[in-house]
């Protein structure tokens, strides 16, 4: 196993040479590329990457340009994860047959996908990869909507959010179904590591990514990625929104080891916890919730977030 890259602080991290290039066509202020950079810079090893169809894929591979400085493949909407799994299986086979040209190099296999390609369309494929035990990492850039095709709801879209296929208006408050708990679903495959990360907590993120690359077996990472276009906020506020999402505990940061051992990795102090109302108020997609008739939903939101936080704490304490 090659040596892990040492990243003690941000200054040390900033000496990394980016392997993801500018002049991609992601929106100004898109969190996708912040997450991708933090993942790619966490290691110095060779990378074998894929991206499922989604914002990241269409914006970084606009013919004749590519923004990736590593082996990168795109096939379809659903099978980004299996493409990498296949490459990993071949790598393993060639290694056993001692036919690798550079056997001392230790490539890492990472597939990127949006929430649409992970929670809905590619679900079966990812589940297959996790179950077969490939030595790979799947990173979800969770922006809670099909942002690339115009903001349709996905099964990651939370209650009350206005999406183009579940719009808020006179008769509806928008999306009516709650977001599915993908980290728990993936953890229940018994995989060695699954975690939820956020780009603002870069140190936590790098630690989790490095751990994920070290362990033998499939790893699932869910990264919150605020979308300026579909969440409807100003591009400059991307980091503010990420802060709000982690500090309001809407996106608690935790990891699940071997499918059962849950650790909360970021625990804001009691006085630093932001009410969910502030998180909702910062986004245009929840604007209608502040009308009198829908105010009860904000209360329900807060209760749901509190209940989830209590649940995670209980799980951490009980070690189950």
């Amino acid at each position: 196993m090659s040596e892990m890259k040492k990243i003690k602080n941000l200054k040390e991290f900033s000496t990394s040479a980016d392997r993801f290039e500018g002049a991609n066509l992601l929106c100004p202020g898109c969190a996708h590329s912040i997450i991708v950079r933090e993942v790619l810079n966490a290691t110095n090893d060779d990378l074998i990457l894929s991206a499922s169809t989604g914002c990241l894929e269409v914006c970084t591979a606009v013919y004749p340009y590519t923004s990736w400085d590593a082996s990168w493949i795109h096939i379809g909407f659903e099978n980004g994860s299996t493409a990498v799994a296949g490459a990993e299986a071949m790598y393993k086979a060639l290694k056993t047959k001692k036919r690798l040209k550079q056997p001392d190099r230790n490539p890492k296999f990472v597939s990127f996908a949006g929430d649409g390609a992970s929670y809905d369309i590619g679900f079966q494929w990812i589940s297959g990869c996790m179950e077969r035990g490939h030595n790979m990492m799947h990173v979800v850039l969770d922006n809670e909507v099909y942002a690339n095709t115009g903001g349709q709801r996905s099964s990651s879209t939370p209650i009350g959010s206005s999406a183009t296929t579940s719009p808020a208006g006179r008769v509806s408050y928008g999306e009516k179904k709650n977001k599915k708990d993908m980290v728990a679903i993936m953890a229940s495959h018994g995989i060695p590591y699954s975690a939820q990360v956020a780009p603002n907590k870069w140190k936590d993120m790098v630690k989790k990514i490095q751990h994920g690359m070290e362990v033998d077996g499939p790893v699932f990472i869910n990264a919150v990625s605020p979308c300026t276009t579909e969440w409807k906020f100003d591009p400059k506020d991307t980091m503010l929104l990420t802060d709000l999402s982690t500090d309001s505990l809407v996106f608690p940061l935790y990891e699940i080891i071997d499918g059962h051992e849950l650790n909360i990795t970021y625990r804001p102090k009691e006085k630093d916890i932001v009410p969910v109302e502030e998180y909702l108020a910062a986004q245009g997609r929840f604007k209608h919730l502040f009308k009198d008739q829908y105010k009860y939903l904000i209360k329900e939101w807060q209760e749901r977030v509190d209940a989830n936080w209590a649940y995670l704490n209980r799980r951490e304490e009980a070690r189950v």
Binding site: K11, T15, T66
Partner: protein, 131 residues
């Protein structure tokens, strides 16, 4: 390359980012890499900008917050020092200004046509907290 239509290529087109052997990319800084014209590094999105960031070196404490949170790899940091902004790839989102912790800020957004030297000469003074 630029004049070739999308339908003139075979299915499963492969793009090479570097001339010749890629070698150790993670250990090679951008200025030392041999990019081909297929890398988006050789393209520019400067015309997307309405506002541009201007960097005042005097106030910078090299915390690297702008480097880590820049979505467009446009903050150039070398040897743990922030040395400037890559204006070919900056889209003018303004995240770097928001995350800058210094007082006064070492990065501020100005209209695209603003003159850098004139703005640097009249950089805002330190804000004092009222008690």
């Amino acid at each position: 390359m630029a004049n070739t239509g999308w339908d003139e290529f075979e299915i499963g087109a492969m793009l090479r980012t570097f001339e010749g052997e890629a070698g150790d990319i993670a250990g090679t800084l951008q200025e030392d890499r041999k990019y081909t014209e297929n890398s988006s590094f050789s393209a520019s999105v400067a015309d997307w900008r309405i506002e541009k960031p201007i960097f005042a070196k005097d106030y910078c404490i090299d915390c690297q917050f702008c480097w880590i949170y820049c979505p467009d790899m446009s903050i150039i940091s070398r040897d743990k020092k922030m040395i400037g902004i890559d204006m070919d790839h900056c889209k003018g989102c303004g995240i770097c200004v928001e995350v800058c912790p210094t007082n006064p800020k070492s990065l501020l957004m100005f209209p695209e046509q603003a003159d850098e030297e004139a703005e640097l000469a009249q950089w805002p003074a330190k804000e004092t907290k009222e008690k």
